[in-house]
């Protein structure tokens, strides 16, 4: 089975092979993986990949899944351009 062909994070095109390499290098929390490989930072914002990644982390660290910290969720829930926020200033003036 070629782990390079198993896609874990579709948005950033990270395979199981890539993920295992990263974990072996010491990136063993979701937030670190996010920062180093952009896992969970694409259009899906971790909705598709996070359970798969956490499952692999639990296996690698040999700890129960429940003990792992899931990714932090910050505003906004989907990507938008700064221009849109700037244009939204009229929101304040309405009642």
């Amino acid at each position: 089975m070629n782990e390079k062909d198993i896609i874990v994070c579709r948005c950033s095109d990270i395979s199981l092979y890539d993920l295992k390499k990263l974990m072996e290098q010491g990136y063993t929390s979701f937030v670190e993986l996010k920062q180093i490989a952009r896992i969970g930072m694409g259009p899906c914002q971790g909705r598709t990949c996070s359970l798969l990644v956490l499952k692999e982390l639990a296996k690698f660290l040999d700890v129960p899944f429940e003990t792992l910290t899931p990714p932090t969720v910050r505003p906004t829930m989907s990507a938008l351009k700064l221009k849109m926020i700037a244009k939204g200033k009229n929101n304040e003036e309405q009642r």
């Binding site: 089975m1 070629n2 782990e3 062909d5 198993i6 896609i7 874990v8 579709r10 199981l16 914002q45 971790g46 909705r47 598709t48 990949c49 359970l51 798969l52 899944f65 429940e66 899931p70 932090t72 969720v73 910050r74 505003p75 906004t76 829930m77 989907s78 938008l80 849109m84 926020i85 244009k87 939204g88 929101n91 304040e92 309405q94 009642r95």
Partner: protein, 362 residues
């Protein structure tokens, strides 16, 4: 900035029911929906529902969506925004929305998150080949857009969704080659499984996908038998020629927005994933932030609706006095209890016990 008593995020069965009950009892409500239609997953459901008459049993899901929609549009104090994504919830109960390119701020006294669930995925070699779909996508293609996903299909997962979608695929003229299920038994209702078996579709328990092959799109799927630890057994591989594979390996609550809003969460396997701690009224640990439907645990549309009605009524009674509140609430709670009777319900109740707290706001 517009101000509402209640902003409901998600217009599936739970969100619609909540909006109906809140506005019926005099609250101003904004219902926000990402899609351009009301009804959520209900509009993809061509089969008749179980449950009791109060949750429209024996009615097709798509028709339940129409019933709820009619009821909702009758109300005077509800605004509906379609094609609108909720972006974030802030401490002062300001919620930001995106409608096409418009960034909109709205203020609420209470926010209800009824964002439902998303599909789980499976990791196997070449799982990114075109032709490999989630069951939800297949239902959207067939039942919303009238598009056949392929000529033949292998369904992965024998829960209710896997079984029902397999039957719908057969109805659409797609050759369902097999349903494979990793566990040792069929998870869905046997009535659905028997319909498939009568039509000659093999349901293979203790089986899963080993790998997919294809040059530019799916051409064949290799399945194999699993041992008791869910590892594949070498030598048991079977090759199935197919252009479509449909994954129906479970749902997880789309609860990310609750985490963003600061609600305390925990992982509960029997509820499908990360869910918020709630009290009897379905209020999270954040004051005036409520949940209903699959976002606080994967169940069915019937219970999602009842939860929605419960939250709507709770809010109405919190901000305005509902004269016959306790009678109405007792009826709804009884409905929910009845829906959760039986084996599946027991499993769900165990999960709910893990997140239910007496009252974290007391």
């Amino acid at each position: 900035m517009k101000h509402y008593d209640v902003v409901v995020v998600g217009a599936g069965p739970a969100g619609m029911a909540c909006a109906i009950n809140a506005t019926k009892h005099g609250l101003t409500v904004l219902l926000v929906e990402r899609d351009d239609f009301l009804g959520g997953q209900l509009i993809k459901q061509t089969h008749m529902f179980f449950g009791s008459e109060k949750q429209y049993a024996k009615t097709r899901g798509i028709d339940i969506a129409t019933i709820l929609k009619k009821e909702l549009l009758k109300q005077d104090h509800v605004d509906i925004m379609l094609d609108t994504s909720a972006l974030a919830i802030y401490d002062d109960k300001v919620i930001t929305l995106l409608n096409h390119h418009d960034y909109i701020k709205v203020k609420a006294n209470a926010i209800v998150v009824a964002t439902g669930a998303s599909e789980k995925v499976l990791a196997f070699p070449n799982n990114d080949l075109p032709g490999i779909y989630g069951a939800g996508a297949v239902q959207t293609l067939m039942n919303v857009h009238g598009v056949k996903p392929g000529k033949s299909v292998v369904m992965v997962g024998a829960g209710n969704i896997g079984l029902i979608v397999s039957y719908q695929l057969l109805q659409a003229g797609v050759d369902v080659k097999a349903v494979v299920e990793a566990s040792d038994s069929i998870g869905g209702y046997l009535v659905h499984a028997q319909k498939l078996r009568r039509l000659g579709v093999p349901i293979l328990t203790n089986h899963s996908v080993k790998e997919a092959h294809g040059a530019t799109a799916l051409e064949e799927l290799i399945i194999w038998k699993l041992d008791e630890n869910f590892s594949g057994i070498a030598g048991t591989e079977k090759r199935i020629e197919t252009d479509t594979c449909c994954l129906s390996v479970g749902l997880k609550p789309s609860s990310e927005m609750l985490r963003q809003a600061g609600a305390e969460m925990t992982y509960v396997r029997s509820l499908g994933g990360y869910v918020p701690y709630i009290n009897q009224n379905h209020e999270t640990t954040v004051n005036n932030l409520f949940v209903c439907g699959d976002v606080s645990g994967i169940e069915e549309a019937s219970s999602a609706m009842v939860e929605g009605f419960i939250v709507g009524l709770t809010l109405a009674n919190r901000f305005k006095n509902v004269p016959n509140f306790s009678v109405l609430m007792t009826d709804l709670k009884t409905q929910l209890k009845d829906l959760r009777a039986g084996e599946t319900g027991e499993h769900i109740m165990k999960g709910i016990k893990q997140i239910m707290r007496g009252d974290h706001h007391a």
